[in-house]
Structures are given as C-alpha cells and as structure tokens.
Assembly symmetry: C2
Homo-oligomer: 186 residues x 2
C-alpha cells in the first residue's frame, strides 16, 4: 500500500545531450510505502510521468539505506523521516517560481540520450548570478514495458472508478432536480 504525498504537474528545464535547453511539463508524484514489511518500511517512491504521453514513466525507489547513501553523497543534514517533507517543500519552491522570467528555484532534468530511454537526473537548482547551487539531485530510471503496463492498468482502474462515481452523481443530480421541478410545478 502506498500513501500519496504529492502529485503535481511541474515545469522542468530539460537539458539535452546537445546542451540545448527547453521547458517541459512533467508530473511529479511522491508516494510513501506503508508496507508492514520491516525491510521496505516507509520506502519513498518518486515517479515522473507526462499527462500527454502514457509511455513516459520514470521511477526511483528510496529506501532508508538508499537515503543514507544519498545523505552522505550530497551532504544532506536531515534524517529519512524528515526527508519527504523537505523534498516536497523544495518542489513547491520551484512551482512558486515557475511564472517568473528568471526563476530563483527550478527543477532541471538532464538525460544522456533521448528522454524516455536512459536514466535521467532530476536536480533542484537554486539560481543566482554567481553560482547555481544544487539542493538535491536524484537519478530516475526509465520504466520498462512491464512497469509501464502495470502503471497504465492502475491508472485505468482509477479512471474507471472516477467515471462510475461521475455517472452516479449525474443520475442523482437528474433525479434531485427533476423531483424539485415537479414539486415546484404543482
């Protein structure tokens, strides 16, 4: 079971291998596993998708051990339990800066080859005229066909449920308003 902590469309600065840059919109989803298994307890899942491209799917699973490596490599000061919220705060800082001409905080996505087929690096970057500072750097892996099909099946299930609820709401609305109309006409 996974608890969703964040699901937002964000603008990222896409840096391609040929050093060209362009802005692209992706969806960042952060989930926390609530498995009772002591091994995978509270694993953090970072997922990157594209609402306009069902085959675009990048994943990263951060276990407590993974985080300790990340913490060491990048000199982070928080512990694993505080990390998700800090990461979310950073994403929101980037979202808040999106509309500016020169955003002070931004999400940068770099990929070795064409985006979608090789690992991608997602950086939270603070820009200033002197030096660009990387607050956090995560390496996301492109999903294989099996992972994409599993993800799409999950999306399909959710959308079908939403559609059923919408259908019920339509029926109830029709019934309620029609009943009121009949009462008023009498």
């Amino acid at each position: 079971m996974a608890q969703e902590l964040l699901s937002r469309e964000v603008k990222v600065l896409l840096r391609s291998q040929d050093c060209s840059e362009r802005r692209q919109t992706v969806r960042i989803c952060i989930e926390q596993l609530t498995a009772s298994s002591p091994v995978h307890k509270k694993d953090l899942i970072v997922r990157m998708t594209d609402d306009t491209d069902p085959f675009f799917l990048y994943n990263l699973v951060i276990s407590e051990d993974d985080f300790q490596s990340l913490k060491l490599q990048q000199g982070l000061l928080v512990d694993f339990s505080a990390f998700p919220q800090k990461f979310i705060d950073l994403v929101y800082q980037c979202i808040n800066e999106e509309k500016k001409e020169v955003p002070r905080f931004l999400l940068q996505l770099s990929s070795g080859a064409a985006l979608g087929s090789s690992p991608a690096q997602l950086d939270v970057v603070e820009t200033n005229p002197f030096k660009h500072l990387t607050h956090l750097s995560l390496r996301l892996l492109p999903a294989n066909d099996m992972e994409v099909k599993t993800y799409l099946a999950m999306c399909l299930k959710c959308i079908k449920e939403e559609k059923v609820m919408l259908h019920h709401k339509l029926k109830k609305t029709e019934d309620d308003l029609t009943r009121q109309l009949i009462c008023t006409q009498q």
Copy 2:
C-alpha cells in the same frame, strides 16, 4: 485506422491442459483496418480481452493471404470480403445459445499452458449428440508487454474522453434543470 465491427462479452468454454472445463467470460473484439496501404488493406484484427484483467490480451491479425491459408486448411467457402460478417454471425449464434443448459453453438477456448502465456485456440463449435462440429478455428497469440501497454494506453485515452463528455453532460444537466427550476419558481 481501424473500424470496430464487434465488441461483445461472450461466454467461452475454457478447456485446460488437464482436460478440465469451465465457463469464463471474455470480450471478443473484431476490427477491420481501413489502411490505405495496398499491402495491409482490410486486415482483420481479432482481439480477446478480459474486462476484469487488464493484462489479459490475445491478438490475431488476418490478412487476405492469411485468410486464403485458413480457407484452404478449414474448407471455408466464403471469400475474404464476406468472412468478417460470417464470423460475427457465428459469434452471435454462440451468444444466443449462452443461457441454455446445453448450448447448440458455443465458443471453446483451449490453451496449452496457463491461459495468458501461450497461444490459445478459439473454436466455434456446434454440438450435437453424435459429433461436435468445428465451424471455425482461430489461433490467437498472447500479447507481449509492449502490446499490452499500447492497448492499455488506448483504453485509457478512450475512458478519459468518455469521462470528459460525462462531465460536460453533468454540467449541462445541472444548468438546464436549475434554470427551469428558477423559471418555475418565479
């Protein structure tokens, strides 16, 4: 571009390798390609899915050449242009017999190994006390992960469009009935 000729849930008699039999519901979809390419003109696509299992997908593409082999092997008398309707008629004969204790026409599905991982044979069988007659026998192939993900992406796109239309209908219904209510109350 493909034109859908049939999409129906049907009951099939599932015959497993251990000779056990049980009834299962699957969806049969028959589409005709309307490609302008002379090579693949009017290819027939037979798809078998399970509304309750997003990963269950079997396909068969029947080109005009494939049909000529099928015609020869199975002694069919119709030509390729007449075949789709004849096939649909046979499926409907099975559907019409579904509720009977002893159906006179039925769809039989046989699979070497576990259903989903090996080719399956779909037969239209006419039962009678003397001999079971096979009117048509088609060999369907289980889809790989790439084909399943492509199929699910297509389903997702359709459901999303249906959901948007349902949302518009809800809005319009609310507006129309509320307006009528206001008019009547005045």
